[in-house]
Each structure stands twice: as structure tokens, then as C-alpha cells.
Amino acid sequence: MLSNKRIILTLIAVLTVGLLATSLTAVATSHGDSEEHLSGKLEIFHWWAGSEGPAINALMDYFKEEHPDVEVINAAVTGGSGINAKAVLKTRLLGGNPPDNFQIHAGRELIGTWVTADRMADLTSLYKEQGWMDKFPQNIIDRVSTEEGIWSVPLTIHRSNVMWYVPDKLDEWGIEVPKTWDEFLEVAPQIQENGVVPLSVGTNWTARHLWESIALAELGPEKWRAMWDGEASVWTSDAMLESWKTMDEVLQYVNEDASSLSWQQATDMLINGEAAFNIMGDWAAGYMATVKNLTPKTGFGWAASPGTEGEFMWLSDSFGLPKGAPHRENAMAWLKLVGSQKGSDVFNPKKGSISPRLDSDISKYNEYSQSAANDFRNDTLVGSMRHGVVANEGFMNDMATVMEQFLKNRNPEQAMMMMEAIAKQNGII
């Protein structure tokens, strides 16, 4: 009996001490947060690694110089376009353990998942205080906002609608860069006669990437914007059907082993002279320049994808502030750096993207990026579907099924109907 009593007493003592300790730590952290001078920790959650690692490290180093007392925690989860990072992020937010800041594709991918779930903090006051409202293009601010607020700070800009080629090879085969898809379809049989694949494509997602370039050409920027703003008639319009018909015709001229190639392998076909053209985002420029050591313009060439001259389909990596971020002050300081001209120009030249700011210093960038930055300032801007600017995660996931079905049976009408249905299902129209 006596020993039992003793055990119970010990238990109570341990529990009390434990509780006291936790509450004390809680007090300590909240105290640290309220101080003006920045100290404590800052956890930055992102998926940049490998060849993109130096860019984020440079930005973090810059932050440490400005705020030497802040301990920056680099919470990288690797995996292309955040495939693993997004899953980890979900478990952390659902588990009530949000990072201070996280990387997310700007636009509906963020809004459809986290803003509708009421997990993000409004950044409108930060935009106003920093004078960012006229530093970023209006189309970008529109796409990262809802009526309730502005939800993330864009750090990079990539372009989706780019057609790549090797200039010397085109000269050798005696073909010009097609300006429209009709021109492409005319020249494609001629390319095939040379034993070359006219257009290289990779796995399912690169086919969706190709479709958005074709759809932009068929629909034009006005209708493209309208359809994502909920204009139901566009989804079943003739132009929409035409985009799938063109897709069907273009697919006659792609490589047979598409479904087993990564986007890099599809780009390699171009470099090796096995394919004439490739539609891919401009991260392909970084791949060809740094990994394959090709010189922009001579080693590889680029043009807007057919029929989209003067239109810039953008996508962007951005940072948002989750509600309940443990070190909010530090997170705000990080966001200020992300949105600033300096931060942008420290990060982007190293990553191979361009700055979303209209006042960035173009001279710091390489030849491809300079040309892209010029287009970015002068062209009509539209958001990318495949990369989460105009479509939410649910739509993007279902679209993979639509494309799978289309690649199998090539029925344009069915593809259009399915697109309309998934748009309804995911609350777009």
C-alpha cells in the first residue's frame, strides 16, 4: 500500500513539473516575439534544392546580414515543383504546426487550398506599406488576391508559352520557326521526312503544359482570362473545341515514347537533333544553359509558342504567411525582403527566373532572361493553368485525368465536356 501511494505522489509531482515547464516555455516564446529588435527563429519552408539551392541560400544569407540575431532555419523538402513539399506542408498545417513562411505557386493553387480554408494572413497592409501596389504588374496582383485580401508575395516569374529549338539544326533542315499552329502543321510533315520528330513531348503533365499554350493561341488572352473568372460560355465555345482539335492534330507529330520521358529528356531530344521543337516553360533555358552548357541564341533559340506572340503566360513562386506562424515578426521581415527589388535581384539571376517587379535591374540577368524580362514588361500577361496561377489544386489534379483520357481516345468533344465538368466540380464556373 505504501509503495502505491508513493508512486501516485511521484506521478503527480512529475505531471506538475511538466505542466509548469511547458507554460514557462510558452511565456518565454511569446515574450521573445513581442520585441521590436528581431531575434529568435525564422523557419522558411521551400522546395528549392540542387541547381536552385544556391539562389535560396544567397537570399537567406542576405537576410542574415540584415538581421544577424535571427536564426534562419532552412526547411527544404526536395522534389520537383513541390510534389513532396506540398504534402509535408499539409500535414504541418493540419497538425497545427505551421512554418513561419512557405513557398507556394502564386494564384489559385494557394487561394483554392489555403485561403478558402482560412489558413492565411492578409498581406494587403504590407503591400500598401511597402508601396508594392504599383511595383508589380496589375495582372499579378489580381491573381494573388481575392476580394478579401492579398495572399502572397511573388518572388520569381517564369514563362510557360515558349517554343524551343536549335537554330543550326533548323537551318540544316531548311525550316523556319512557325508563327501559328497552322504553319506548324504545314511544316511538320516536311520535318518528319528528315527522320526527325517535329515536336517532343514528355509525360502527362508536359502534355497539359502543351495544351495551355495551344488553348491560349486558340482562345486569345481575353477569353482565357474570362474562362478562369467564371465565364461559363467560354468552356463550351467553338474556340475551346478548336483548341482540342488542334491538340489532336499536333499530337500526330510527337514522339511515340512521350509517356516515359521527363521534361528534361524531351528537351534532350531537341539538343541531340532528334526533335525539331519543344514547348516548355523557361526553366528549360536554365537547364540548357547551365546543365548542357549551351549558349543562348546560338546553342538554343526560343520564340513565343505559335499564335501567342505578344502574350506572356506567367507563373510564379511566392511566399505566404500562414495564420499562427510562430515567429510572425521575423516572417514579415522575410516577406519584405522577398518583395523588395534587392531581394528579387539577388535571387532570380541565380535561379534563372526573372523578377516580378517592373523596376528590376535587367543588367544582372543572362541573355535569355533579359529578353524574357522585356517581354514581361511589354506583353499582355495571362496566368498559367498547369502551374497553379488560374486553376486550383483540385482542377489541376482532375485535368490530369482528362488529359490521360484524351491521349487514349483523342476525342476533342469529350475532352471539352470533361473540362467543363471538372471546372464546375472545382468551383471555377
Partner: protein
């Protein structure tokens, strides 16, 4: 005496209670919870909110999965799952039996080979998948084997071919199932006719006839569930995955069969030999019929393993290759990539029912055996 027995029972219950409670909550509680989630809409778009609004919508998610025209991928995955199960079970049993017979004849180095054959089972699916993805890559591994004897390399794309065989229209699934059922009934009718139960045979044949008539004339009256014809079948890209799974588990079935074959008494073998049976006859007429119960256990075990293909598929072809899809992969994508927890839960329940199709009859028969 009476008190003593009660006391024993009391202690037994008390010691069992913790595990009963844990199993109750973490197995059956969560099964129930998953089923509940599957009949809701779980917050629609705002699935990740702190307190999502949850409306019970009945069996709508299931209806969408089986007949909604957006869920073609689920149906292909389901068809894949059936082919995976059948081919892996058949493959592992045939290869395992063959290896077991080889080892049963006690060749030199038998224990060495036994270890070698059994070894793949100790690997995880992720490791198997990674190894076989390399072996089956289009330009290397298996496809280069013929070049060692001077033949041109194979061109077969094990994991990425788009062709499929044995295709059928999903629209016709009720008729195809009806056809199979009619065939089974007819076989049974034939058997009862042979064993002299003519009345029973006649009624069975009648039922089969009704089914055949429905298949022949019912098509015109049955409403179309899908606006477009939807072809599903055995995708050739799944062959690579099946190959890897058979490789991994045939050693296991071999061990089961070997134990069975060793259990056949030597008297029987000697008797068979005295009667002039050769090795082939001994195995086909004596040994294999003796190990029939092992086949049943092997089928049950392989069947539920074949439903756990997630990691193998994930490692070999990735989550986005619908050609090789499996409901388990789709469940993951729906829940954690598209944030559609309700539909994910519905897929989980379908998988659970498929698993119980295999497990429940086994448990029932095992329980009966123990009572008998």
C-alpha cells in the same frame, strides 16, 4: 468452484481489455470513421479549414466513382486491381510450385537455392520497385538480354506501353458479369445433371437461360450510364509491375509448397514408384493433389498482398501514370493532392470491401475448422 471460474473469466477479460480497446478504437473505430467521411462532402473546396463544414450526402461519392464520367481513372484502376490480383496470384503460385518441385527432388546445394529463392521476400516493395524500374527501362536491363547471344535488343516498353488487351466497354460490365454468372451456373447445372439431380439441373439451366436472354435483348432497354464509350482492359504497362511482384513473392509460395511436399509421406511416394509411376506422374497425380490446401492459403495470402501494391507502383511508374494505376494510388492522390478527403475515403472503403472479399471466407473456414 463457481466463484473461481468467474474470477478466471474476470482476469481474462481484464488482461484482454487494453488490446480490445486499442483494436476497437484504432481498427474498427477508424474503419467506421472512414466510412462516415466517405458519405459526406467534407468541406468541399475548403477541405483543409480548421473546422470544415461537413454535410452528409449519402452514397453520392460512390455513385460518382462508378458511373460519373470524370472518374474513368478510378474504373481503370479497379480493372487494373483485378488483373494485378489474378495475374500475381497465378504467377506466384505457378512459379512457386515449379521451384518447390525442383527443390523437393533434393538437388545439390538445395539449402543454398532455397535461401536465394526466398530472399526477395525480405526486401520492401520500394527496393524491389527501384531495382526493377532499372531492369525494365526501355534501353537497358531485360531488353538488352538478347544481345548477349547476338540477337537484336527487345523494344518492349515494360512500364510505359500504351496498348491494352482484353478490353471491354465499361458500359457492358453488367452484361459481362451476367455472362460469367450464367456460365458458372451452367457448369454447376451440368455437374448436378451428371450426379443425377435432374430437377436441380433444370432449374439452374432455367436461371442461366433468363440471364442469357437478358444479355441478348436487355441492352436496348438498359439506360446508358456513361455519355461516351469507355474502354478498359489489361494494360500492357502493368506487366512490368506484375513481373516484379511475382519475382518478389514466388519464393514465399515456394516455401509454402515445399513444406507441403515434404509433408507427403515417403510411403506414398514409394508406393507410387512401385506401381510404376514416373516423376511427372508422381507429382501430377499424387503430390500436387495432396498439397491442395496449401494452394488455398497461398491464394488468400497473395490476394491481400496484391491489394497492397501502392509502394511498388509508386516506385516503378510514379503516381501520375494512370495506365498502371491502382485504387490505392488514386486514393492517395484524391485525398492528399486534390484535397478531396470524402472521395478518397470512398475509394478506401471500396478497397476495404475488396480485401474482405478475400479475407472473410478464409476466416470463416478457418474458424469452422477449429470448431470441428
Amino acid at each position: 468452484m463457481n466463484w473461481r471460474r468467474h474470477k478466471d473469466k474476470f482476469w481474462a477479460l481484464l488482461t484482454l481489455f487494453p488490446s480490445l480497446a486499442l483494436v476497437g478504437v484504432f481498427v474498427y473505430g477508424f474503419i467506421g470513421r472512414t466510412f462516415f467521411v466517405s458519405i459526406t462532402d467534407w468541406g468541399k473546396g475548403a477541405a483543409l479549414a480548421e473546422n470544415p463544414t461537413i454535410n452528409v450526402i449519402g452514397l453520392g461519392n460512390y455513385g460518382q466513382l462508378f458511373t460519373g464520367f470524370l472518374n474513368a481513372r478510378f474504373r481503370q484502376s479497379l480493372v487494373n486491381a483485378a488483373f494485378y490480383s489474378v495475374l500475381i496470384i497465378v504467377g506466384a503460385i505457378i512459379v512457386g510450385l515449379f521451384l518447390a518441385i525442383l527443390l523437393d527432388r533434393q538437388p545439390a546445394g538445395e539449402s543454398f537455392f532455397r535461401t536465394i529463392f526466398l530472399y526477395p521476400m525480405s526486401l520492401s516493395f520500394i527496393v524491389t520497385g527501384t531495382i526493377w524500374r532499372w531492369l525494365l527501362s526501355p534501353g537497358g536491363g531485360i531488353n538488352r538480354l538478347p544481345t548477349f547471344i547476338g540477337l537484336p535488343p527487345l523494344r518492349f516498353r515494360w512500364l510505359s506501353s500504351e496498348g491494352s488487351i482484353l478490353t471491354f466497354n465499361w458500359q457492358n460490365l453488367p452484361f459481362i458479369t451476367g455472362g460469367i454468372v450464367a456460365f458458372v451456373i451452367l457448369t454447376l447445372a451440368y455437374r448436378s445433371w451428371k450426379s443425377g439431380q435432374e430437377k436441380r439441373a433444370a432449374s439452374m439451366a432455367g436461371a442461366a437461360l433468363i440471364l442469357v436472354l437478358w444479355i441478348a435483348f436487355g441492352r436496348g432497354f438498359t439506360p446508358k450510364i456513361l455519355p461516351y464509350p469507355e474502354e478498359h482492359g489489361l494494360n500492357l504497362a502493368t506487366l512490368g509491375i506484375i513481373l516484379a511482384a511475382v519475382w518478389q513473392y514466388s519464393g514465399y509460395t515456394m516455401a509454402m509448397f515445399l513444406a507441403g511436399l515434404r509433408g507427403v509421406s515417403t510411403d506414398l511416394r514409394e508406393a507410387a514408384e512401385l506401381d510404376g509411376a514416373n516423376q511427372f506422374q508422381y507429382y501430377t497425380r499424387v503430390a500436387i493433389p495432396m498439397v491442395k490446401p496449401v494452394v488455398l492459403s497461398a491464394v488468400i495470402i497473395m490476394a491481400h498482398i496484391s491489394l497492397k501494391m501502392f509502394s511498388l507502383i509508386f516506385a516503378m511508374t510514379g503516381p501520375d501514370n494512370a495506365e498502371t494505376g491502382h485504387p490505392a494510388v488514386l486514393m492517395y492522390l484524391k485525398s492528399f493532392r486534390a484535397n478531396n478527403f470524402a472521395v478518397g475515403a470512398a475509394i478506401a472503403v471500396v478497397l476495404f470491401l475488396m480485401a474482405s472479399l478475400f479475407i472473410v471466407p478464409y476466416l470463416v473456414s478457418a474458424y469452422r475448422e477449429r470448431r470441428a
